[in-house]
């Protein structure tokens, strides 16, 4: 049982990252992780360790997050993770920081289901199959959420100020 706890522990940093990226609120994110860990630990007798543990933990977190969204309605008015840099900020890094700020802002207004899909794939590095399992959706649905999320992010960031272009 302790080995299972160790394995759960190994997933905590990634769970915190995912929760913070979902909510853009450090306290709320840790609340979500704490709720999820409590659920996971309580239910671990029911969970037969045959499937991947990480996917199971992320699935619990997604469920807790969705329940929380519904009850608290704390979605949009969140604290910005990165304040928008002023126009007069340091020129050299300005474009990069603008691009990051634009992306951070665009992520916050993305529908939750697209944000979840993007984060699992692009930040957590999950395979499409694993991400689909976490979200409890067929892989076709995952791909369409990913595609819509990427298109929306692109629109949002390209409508913003000119950004750095990397030319290969």
């Amino acid at each position: 049982m302790s080995a299972l706890l160790d394995e759960i522990e190994g997933c905590v940093p990634a769970l915190r990252r995912f929760a913070r990226a979902l909510t853009h609120d450090a306290d709320l994110a840790d609340d979500l992780v704490q709720d999820s860990l409590e659920r996971a630990i309580r239910k671990r007798d029911l969970w037969r360790p045959t499937g991947p543990l990480r996917a199971w933990l992320f699935r619990i977190l997604v469920n807790v997050y969705r329940n929380d969204l519904r009850t608290r309605r704390r979605i949009a008015a969140v604290l910005p993770l990165y304040a928008r840099p002023s126009e007069a900020s340091v020129p050299a890094a300005q474009h990069v920081r603008l691009a990051l700020a634009e992306t951070a802002r665009a992520m916050q207004v993305l529908p939750a289901e697209q944000r979840e899909a993007l984060l699992l794939v692009a930040v957590e590095g999950m395979s499409y199959a694993e991400a689909a399992a976490v979200l409890g959706i067929p892989s076709g649905t995952l791909m369409s959420r990913l595609a819509r999320g990427r298109a929306a992010l692109r629109r949002a960031t390209e409508e913003g100020p000119p950004r750095l272009r990397t030319v290969k």
């Binding site: 302790s2 706890l5 160790d6 759960i8 522990e9 905590v12 940093p13 990634a14 915190r16 990252r17 913070r20 990226a21 840790d30 992780v33 704490q34 860990l37 409590e38 630990i41 309580r42 239910k43 007798d45 029911l46 969970w47 037969r48 199971w56 699935r59 619990i60 469920n63 969705r66 329940n67 519904r70 993770l81 990165y82 691009a99 990051l100 992306t103 951070a104 992520m107 993007l118 984060l119 794939v121 692009a122 930040v123 395979s127 499409y128 409890g136 791909m143 990913l146 595609a147 990427r150 992010l153 692109r154 960031t157 390209e158 990397t166 290969k168």
Partner: protein, 255 residues
């Protein structure tokens, strides 16, 4: 592979590093001849880089003490022991009560939730509706999102319709019923042989959680559990182990 067979999914998989080298090379060739697509793919790559830059470092932060897995487990073990002590005391009281004259009332036998009122209602609703061929449900699986939203609203709980396909059961649909004087949701699933199982779900708010409790009556098996927000009974005539698998999966997804 020629360039024309590159799909949208390939482009995403290319960006996410999920293609094998051969396919990757094919996408490279395709992009060389399709500048608009190439620009789109480049934008996605920049998004991935931006997302990494924004969030990746969070995973390297020290974990706050309140998220220490072993302490959380320890706290549960302690409260579990306290609960055991109380349960033992309660059993002693009950034993005294039994000795004092309860014996004649027929309360003997293994605890079986088959007689619990909610289980009775779930079994009755199961028997009534699983036999229906034409109208087994009020809202079919083709309107799954509507069904989830409607039942969630009526129960004032966020109901996620469990995905039981990995266990061979697909959603037939659901309906609203009265149970214990309150609105209850019935969800029906069936396997490829047409064997049906149903869930009866009511809102709960006493905060008590329970493990799965097995019951059997009228040739039907059931599992009852209480989660933080709902009480749920799963009913079916499938084998006990299979029913338990379904219950476990639903337990995980429902609450």
């Amino acid at each position: 592979m020629n360039g024309a067979s590159v799909t949208e999914t390939d482009l995403h998989a290319y960006v996410d590093g999920a293609l094998d080298p051969e396919r990757c090379a094919a996408v490279d060739r395709y992009l060389a001849g399709h500048p608009i697509e190439a620009e789109r793919v480049r934008a996605w790559q920049q998004q991935n880089e931006a997302l990494s830059a924004l969030y990746h470092h969070i995973g390297a932060e020290p974990v706050p003490p309140r998220l220490d897995v072993h302490s959380i487990a320890g706290a549960f073990a302690t409260s579990g022991r306290a609960w055991h002590r109380m349960a033992t005391a309660a059993l002693l009281c009950m034993a005294v009560g039994l000795a004092g004259g309860w014996i004649g009332r027929g309360y003997w036998g293994a605890p079986d939730v088959g007689q619990t009122p909610l289980v009775n209602e779930a079994v009755a609703a199961h028997s009534l509706y699983t036999r229906e061929v034409v109208h087994p449900v009020e809202v079919g699986a083709d309107q799954q999102a509507h069904l989830a939203a409607w039942l969630s609203k009526r129960l004032d709980r966020n109901l996620v319709l469990p995905d039981l396909r990995p266990l061979g059961f697909s959603l037939v649909g659901g309906r609203l019923l009265p149970a214990q004087g309150r609105p209850a949701a019935q969800l029906m699933y069936e396997d490829e042989t047409g064997q049906r199982v149903t869930f009866l779900i009511v809102a709960a708010s006493d905060g008590h959680e329970s493990s799965l409790q097995y019951g059997q009556r009228d040739g039907l098996r059931s599992f009852l559990w209480t989660d933080e927000t709902i009480r749920c009974v799963l009913v079916g005539s499938v084998a006990r182990d299979r029913l338990r698998d379904i219950a476990t999966r639903a337990y995980e997804q429902l609450g």
